[in-house]
């Protein structure tokens, strides 16, 4: 029983902290936009449009679940 509890606890840690790491990775993820896009077409409107979903509740958890 104690081993099960410890195992469950350890397995729960990535679910708790994985999304937190993704929050911290936003600046790096944003750089992907600059690398993937034709720089001449990358206006502020486009950057804002791609970043707007970061306002959605639990976007970090959603990305974690997707990955």
């Amino acid at each position: 029983m104690r081993e099960d509890g410890l195992q469950r606890f350890l397995l729960s840690l990535p679910h708790k902290y994985g999304p937190l790491f993704l929050r911290a990775a936003v600046p790096y993820l944003e750089q992907m936009l600059y690398k993937a896009y034709n720089k001449n077409k990358l206006t502020q409107h486009v950057v804002d449009g791609y970043k707007y979903p970061l306002n959605a509740r639990d976007w970090d958890r959603g990305l974690y679940w997707f990955i």
Partner: protein, 175 residues
């Protein structure tokens, strides 16, 4: 000069180690117990370019434009959203009905907990089921699937598993 006994050394070591050990344990305990506050606002409070519909407990954001015999379903890639189709939807809607949705995990589609939904919408299979359910709810029996990047992969998956729902495929830079 006084000579230190073994017990003196042990006491000194305990005195130095214990506070540090306790501090480390306290930090670990705090990290485990303290909940991480959620980020962002509920999707319905955000400025959306489309509408919301609840399918299988997941609030999906989608754009539905135009009409006609032909229907086009647009599936965006990783890290994208219906915003990626902003220059495509309007001109394409002259040729039929265009439905673009934010795939689970992206855009303004609600980040539903996969342990609380009938299936995991974040997998390719689960995402495909959700898209087919959305089509059924919107009275679409068959569509031309236009997928970009990872959206192309989902389009291919749907075409291979649910041929009856696919009229044609357009794969843009498929991943």
């Amino acid at each position: 000069m006084t000579k230190l006994t073994r017990s003196d050394l042990v006491k000194t070591a305990e005195h130095l180690i214990k506070p540090k050990l306790l501090a480390v344990l306290a930090v670990i305990l705090a990290a485990v117990i303290i909940p991480i506050p959620p980020v962002g606002k509920p999707v319905e409070e955000l400025v959306a370019s489309g509408s919301f519909i609840v399918i299988e407990g997941v609030k999906i954001h989608y754009v539905d434009k135009g009409s006609g015999d032909k229907t086009f379903v647009l599936l965006h890639g990783f890290g994208a959203s219906v915003f990626s189709w902003r220059e495509v939807i309007q001109p394409l809607s002259r040729h039929g009905r265009v439905v673009a949705l934010d795939r689970p995990g992206f855009g303004l589609t609600e980040r539903a907990d996969p342990t609380k939904t009938p299936y995991n919408p974040y997998t390719v299979g689960g995402g495909a089921i959700l898209i087919l359910r959305l089509m059924k709810t919107l009275n679409i029996s068959k569509a031309v699937f236009i997928g970009h990047s990872a959206g192309a992969y989902t389009s291919l998956y749907i075409a291979s598993k649910h041929q009856e729902a696919v009229e044609a495929l357009v794969l843009i830079a498929p991943a």
